[in-house]
């Protein structure tokens, strides 16, 4: 491509990257809704057409997950995201409330720096490019170093498709090699409008401390509670669907099962029937050593996205060769129980609760053990208990009778906005609990026409200066119904 948008060496020319992004932002600001939508449609089509190739590339390069599941991720990131945003007004006047005199105008925010995780590389690239272009914002893709090739190819495919529809030059850029200093310098750059950070805690933390507005994603530690009114077989099936998906690489995947004692025997049978393997205490100890880095207090990267059978082999676990999930029966939550932490692999902590209260308390402990603000899951047919459970979870998404990975991402099993950036609220040090989508990448201007405040019009404002009046008297006067 003539207009090189890649940087081949470390020590990037950050100013040049941002100059190009600023030019693209400037040109973008002139585009109409119709033109913008043509670009988005072209990018969606190109991404969708390449969904299988890119999934295989991601799998081959990262060695994580299951390529067929990465195809599904690519489908969600293109088709589902496109369907969600295609009719969204993102240019010019987006609403006109004549009665209240408010007109809303959508404006782009400016250049976006997008950090891409190794676990969902191609899908996250396509998702972020689509929502950026839909809102007329240029985007700079910063891939995880272990997913460089597939991210570059994805960004290139999207960019070329966008250019064919007369998108601004350099509206998509990508970094091929970079140091952490480069990343930090880009995040701090005065011309950058937003960091869209999906990745590890340290990277997201760096984004938040950069001084540039940032939308980040906190880690998850999703408890899945099988309450006694649940259809237990269905619940177990859903959890298997979710936790085996792409070998557990989705941050919203279940990390533990909490099952009511009254249905525990049935749950165990259903789990074993689906090739779930319950670990012995010795096996748990061996797995802890490999799966968890105690010094760093994090999952070990070597087992992320690996299959249950390969992990079993690695740890000398006597599981059947076709094992799908490894379950660790535990009695507690916290540092002393490493497998109660987030591990993005087909490993689940397993708890039997005496009753609802005990179960909810366990879920709270798990939720607050590294997963604040993310996602919680419940299988139940008791609306009261579902509400009670939700009210004490600190989670942006409480998915009900749903596989958590796919449920939290949205669009497949519910009407949440399809997204590969799941806000975790203040608990996760995020600005929002929303599933991030195009709506979050707009500056909304409001034209506020003069309107009469009818209560203020009738109110004698001199009363504000009378200290002898109590607040109730002033309120009554202000709210008087003439």
């Amino acid at each position: 491509m003539e207009n090189a948008t890649t940087m081949d060496t470390k020590g990037l020319d950050i100013d040049n990257i941002m100059r190009k992004a600023s030019f693209a932002a400037a040109i973008f600001s002139q585009l109409s809704q119709e033109h913008t939508d043509r670009i988005v449609r072209a990018v969606y089509e190109a991404g969708f057409k390449n969904r299988i190739k890119l999934a295989k590339m991601a799998h081959d390069e990262t060695g994580l997950g299951v390529w067929e599941d990465k195809v599904i991720k690519n489908v969600v990131a293109t088709q589902f995201v496109y369907e969600d945003i295609k009719n969204l007004k993102t240019v010019g006047i987006i609403s006109d409330d004549e009665e209240n005199g408010i007109i809303e105008i959508a404006q782009p925010i400016g250049p976006i720096f997008a950090l891409i995780p190794v676990t969902n590389p191609t899908s996250t690239v396509m998702f972020k490019i689509l929502i950026a272009l839909k809102t007329r914002n240029p985007i700079i893709i910063s891939p995880h170093h272990r997913a460089m090739k597939c991210c570059k190819e994805t960004a290139k495919i999207c960019y070329e498709a966008a250019l064919k529809e007369d998108a601004p030059q350099d509206c998509v850029q990508w970094l091929e090699a970079k140091s952490s200093e480069d990343t930090r310098a880009l995040m701090r750059h005065k011309k950058l409008a937003l960091v869209l950070a999906t990745g590890g805690s340290s990277l997201v933390g760096a984004a938040y401390s950069s001084g540039t507005p940032a939308i980040g994603v906190g880690p998850g530690n999703v408890p899945a509670y099988i309450e006694e009114t649940a259809d237990v077989g269905f619940a177990v099936e859903q959890i298997f669907t979710s936790k085996t998906f792409d070998n557990g690489t989705v941050c919203a995947s279940e990390q533990s099962i909490i099952v009511d004692k009254s249905v525990a025997n049935q749950a165990k049978k259903e789990i074993e029937a689906r090739k779930g393997y319950f670990l012995s205490n010795d096996e748990i100890k061996r797995l802890e050593e490999v799966a968890f880095d105690k010094e760093r207090g994090l999952m070990n990267a070597a087992i992320v996205g690996q299959s249950a059978s390969s992990i079993a082999k690695l740890v000398n676990i006597d599981a059947p060769s076709d094992v799908r999930l490894l379950l660790a029966p535990l009695t507690g939550v916290g540092k002393e129980y490493p497998l109660s932490s987030e591990i993005l692999a087909p490993i689940l902590a397993y708890y039997i609760a005496d009753d609802f209260e005990h179960a909810v308390n366990l879920c709270i402990d798990l939720n607050f053990h590294g997963g604040i603000g993310h996602t919680a899951s419940i299988f139940s047919n008791d609306d009261g208990k579902i509400s009670e459970f939700a009210s004490v979870m600190n989670a942006g998404r409480i998915v009900v009778n749903t596989p958590s990975s796919q449920g939290a991402v949205g669009g497949l099993y519910n009407t949440l906005h399809p997204s590969f950036t799941l806000g975790c609220g203040s608990g996760g040090k995020n600005i929002t609990t929303d599933n991030i989508t195009a709506r979050h990448l707009l500056n909304i201007q409001r034209i506020a026409r003069r309107r009469v405040n009818r209560r203020l019009e009738k109110f004698d404002t001199k009363l504000y200066f009378d200290e002898s009046l109590d607040i109730k008297t002033i309120e009554d006067e202000f709210n008087r119904n003439y």
Partner: protein, 97 residues
Amino acid sequence: MVQFQLEDGKLVCLFLKNMETENCVNCENELFTKIRETKLPVVFDLKEVSYIASMFLSMCLMAKKEPDVESFLLINVQPNVKKVFKIAGVDQHLSIT
């Protein structure tokens, strides 16, 4: 695409169409040949222009940097085009009226 006029010792370049990439490509050679031939201060008149491509931004910066161009001025810039120069951050390097 571009009309050239000599006014008060300046080369005034009146752009007659929106400066999309294709139009920029089509007029670039002629424009810079003229600028280099005349060696006069340059004025880009944008009164007929309501859209510019990034290539036009680059052409403005190139014109400004031409060694024999004593001064470079953009005139009759419509608000929506002026905003483009602002967002691109090049307004500080160019004289825009």
